[in-house]
């Protein structure tokens, strides 16, 4: 592949990268909010709700992302749900990731030692105060590493959106490959690009992880 092909297609590739980043960030953001809500709902004293949310998580985690996308994008119109490819992609990514985030938050809540909550109750803290000052901060530290991990996984999943014609990077690259007969070179460039992207994101993620959990190392020693 000559570089002037890349140069000629640079505008569409750059816009594709923009769509990739957009789908990733909005989709994951949606997934985080939904996931947190699901995890909170699963602690509710209402057993049908807990049961329903558990079924949702199992359903989403038990089926392939591509299948969910087809269901949303291709089968949606038959129940009156008409979405553009990009909207279906973002919502699909949000729903898919929400199940994984919900499990992470659930484990995070469970990781807060029971003794801390007992202690908070015994010194007379209000339930909302306990949630805000004890449970959430404790859970946050436990969830950051797996959340970073899942975000990285989701950055790779955005490639699947190209199959339902979301005009993200992979889609633009395949369009270029088809128009210029450079399939092999294009896919090679994609492999290198995504590998670098994931490496950079992983490194940034680990740095974020360290800074969020830094206070633990400081307070871990004998005071």
């Amino acid at each position: 592949m000559s570089f002037d092909v890349l140069w000629r297609y640079a505008p569409s590739l750059i816009s594709g990268f923009g769509v990739t980043i957009l789908c990733w960030s909005i989709g994951s953001g949606l997934g985080l909010v939904l996931g947190a809500a699901i995890a909170l709902g699963r602690r509710a004293p209402l057993s049908p709700l807990r049961w329903l949310l558990r079924a949702y998580v199992e359903l989403i985690r038990g089926t392939p992302f591509l299948m969910q996308l087809f269901l949303l994008y291709a089968a949606g119109p038959s129940i009156g749900l008409r979405l553009s490819a990009t909207a279906a992609g973002v919502i699909g990514l949000g729903i898919y990731s929400s199940a994984y985030f919900a499990e992470i938050f659930r484990a995070g809540f469970a990781a807060v030692p029971k003794g801390q909550i007992d202690a908070a109750v015994s010194i007379g803290m209000a339930p909302l105060d306990i949630l805000w000052r004890i449970t959430l901060p404790g859970a946050l530290v436990a969830v950051v590493p797996p959340i970073v991990n899942t975000l990285i996984v989701m950055s790779k999943e955005t490639v699947v959106l190209s199959i339902i014609t979301v005009p993200e990077l992979m889609y633009q690259m395949q369009t270029m490959a088809a128009e210029t007969f450079t399939a092999f070179d294009a896919i090679f460039a994609m492999a290198v690009f995504y590998w670098l992207l994931v490496e950079v994101v992983s490194r940034l993620g680990r740095r974020l992880e360290r800074s969020v959990t830094a206070f633990m190392r400081h307070s871990a020693g004998p005071a």
Binding site: M67, Q68, A75, K156, M170
Partner: protein
């Protein structure tokens, strides 16, 4: 009747589910062999082999599976090899899965207490015997639950091989959707097949976890 399109093509779906399971099984089995090799390279391969193993894991975990599959597909064509798409599909799944399995095995090896290896040496076991009789059996035992988990992930990832034209569950769901004009039934039906297979695997994983936990107690 609701879901008629699904029931009419039930045999077609069942066959496709078989293809999905077969492709995933072949992928995980070949991936296991490559995974062991990569794991050994990383654990005791010295600087060069170890580094190569680390690069392998980084590349195959870092590049999205869809890109890997298309890469292998086009790479084989570029070499002028006329191999069936199935080879590219299974090969792609195996190479990607090997990277994850190598890490699972490495983690399991690290979880075997150091004392076991030292005791084996103290008893005069040869290095090969130490590996074969002490380290590997214990590591494999620890890695069974995560390996079953990896199998579930691979089974879901295998939906991507529909892109290179393998008639597995996802591709067949697409075909049924477009031939019956009932996409909702087709995709819900296909999804149900995945769900049933994965719930079965998850139950197997739980069983294995309990069994192995029971065996390792004092």
């Amino acid at each position: 009747m609701p879901l008629q399109a699904f029931f009419n093509s039930f045999g077609y779906f069942a066959q496709a589910a078989g293809v999905t399971v077969a492709v995933s099984l072949a992928g995980i089995a070949i991936g296991f062999i490559i995974g062991i090799a990569v794991c050994i390279a990383r654990v005791s391969g010295g600087r060069w082999l170890g580094g190569l193993g680390a690069v392998y894991v980084s590349v195959f975990r870092g590049v999205p599976l869809l890109v890997q599959l298309l890469f292998i597909y086009y790479f084989l064509a570029e070499l002028g090899l006329d191999v069936p798409a199935l080879v590219a599909a299974v090969g792609g799944l195996a190479l990607a899965s090997a990277a994850y399995q190598a890490e699972i095995l490495r983690g399991a090896l690290n979880a075997v207490p150091r004392g076991q290896e030292e005791a084996a040496i103290a008893f005069g076991f040869s290095p090969l015997d130490t590996w074969w009789r002490i380290l590997l059996p214990q590591a494999l035992r620890i890695s069974v639950p995560p390996l079953i988990n990896e199998f579930i992930l691979l089974l879901k990832a295998s939906s991507l091989v529909s892109v290179v034209g393998i008639a597995e569950l996802t591709r067949v769901s697409m075909n049924v959707a477009s031939s019956t004009y009932r996409p909702l039934e087709a995709y819900v039906g296909g999804g149900l097949f995945y769900l049933v297979i994965n719930l079965g695997l998850a139950a197997l994983g739980n069983l294995a976890e309990r069994r192995l936990a029971a065996g390792s107690g004092p």
